[in-house]
């Protein structure tokens, strides 16, 4: 597994734990209400679960297993994918900060960074989605 996939997958597992923790608290609060304001954490649960966990896990595994090039850098432009990793995780952090502390403008900036992150990931891996290369016959 390449180093960048290790980063993506480990970050996704951290987000999964955060998402499961918030989700667990929300569900338990439905059973026995211990905080009436807890429901305001729902956007965090969604952010952690869908973007931080599922999307990021898929990106990490895709970078690992998509077809490699026989010439040049085997996984294409890795700088773009590193940028995707940084943008995605900074974006999630900004959305979380606005959700928790109500800092205006952070969620919008965060979502734009997530979008740019996905665009960078797609640009970096687009050409790796291709048929198997024929091996030269000996």
């Amino acid at each position: 597994m390449p180093r960048l996939s290790v980063y993506f997958v480990r970050a996704s597992l951290i987000h999964a734990l955060l998402g499961f923790t918030v989700g667990g608290l929300l569900l338990a609060n439905k059973g026995v209400m211990f905080s009436p304001t807890l429901w305001s954490l729902l956007p965090l649960h969604i952010e952690f679960a869908f973007i931080g966990w599922m999307a990021q896990f898929a990106m990490g595994v895709a970078f690992w297993i998509l077809q490699r090039f026989s010439r040049g850098s085997p996984r294409g432009n890795e700088k773009l994918v590193w940028a995707a990793f940084a943008l995605l995780n900074t974006g999630i952090l900004l959305v979380v900060i606005q959700s928790l502390f109500g800092v205006n403008g952070f969620a919008l900036s965060g979502r734009i960074m997530e979008l740019l992150g996905l665009a960078a990931f797609a640009a970096g891996n687009w050409r790796r989605i291709k048929p198997l290369e024929d091996k030269p016959r000996s």
């Binding site: 597994m1 290790v6 999964a16 989700g23 338990a28 439905k30 059973g31 599922m54």
Partner: protein, 135 residues
């Protein structure tokens, strides 16, 4: 494909099937009898289907932990499977019931469901973390 992965994938497919049936019911004339079922429907798709599919495939395909324990601590994988499915089934049964008729039993079942589902995520992360290795 390891036995545990087959269980994960087959359970995931069953949840997808149940979720699609629930999706039909939720927009049909019987929807008024299943109020409060939408969150359970949504989590059958995201947790029962997608997350469980990821868990199963990751257990199968991720780098080996060691020669002796290629898939890490297999008991943790089985614990993940049992905790996830018990927790989710409790939610599917008791969340709609609690919406219709709140009771002490329904309330504690939801808390148990929350704890079991959280533990399933924790045990998955624990067993998978050590298998994420650079090569």
């Amino acid at each position: 494909m390891p036995t545990l992965t087959r269980w994960f994938l087959k359970a995931a497919l069953l949840y997808l099937l149940f979720a699609l049936v629930a999706g039909v019911l939720l927009v049909s004339s019987v929807s008024k009898f299943i109020t409060g079922f939408f969150p359970a429907y949504f989590h059958m798709l995201t947790f029962g289907w997608l997350t469980q599919l990821i868990f199963g495939v990751a257990f199968w395909m991720f780098p080996k932990y060691s020669i002796a324990k290629s898939r890490g601590h297999e008991w943790l994988g089985w614990a993940t499977f049992i905790l996830l499915n018990t927790g989710l089934l409790l939610r599917i049964i008791f969340e709609p019931l609690n919406a219709i008729a709140p009771s002490l039993m329904n309330s504690w079942a939801l808390i148990a469901s929350a704890i079991l589902q959280w533990l399933s995520g924790f045990s998955f992360v624990l067993n998978t973390w050590v298998r994420i290795k650079e090569r």
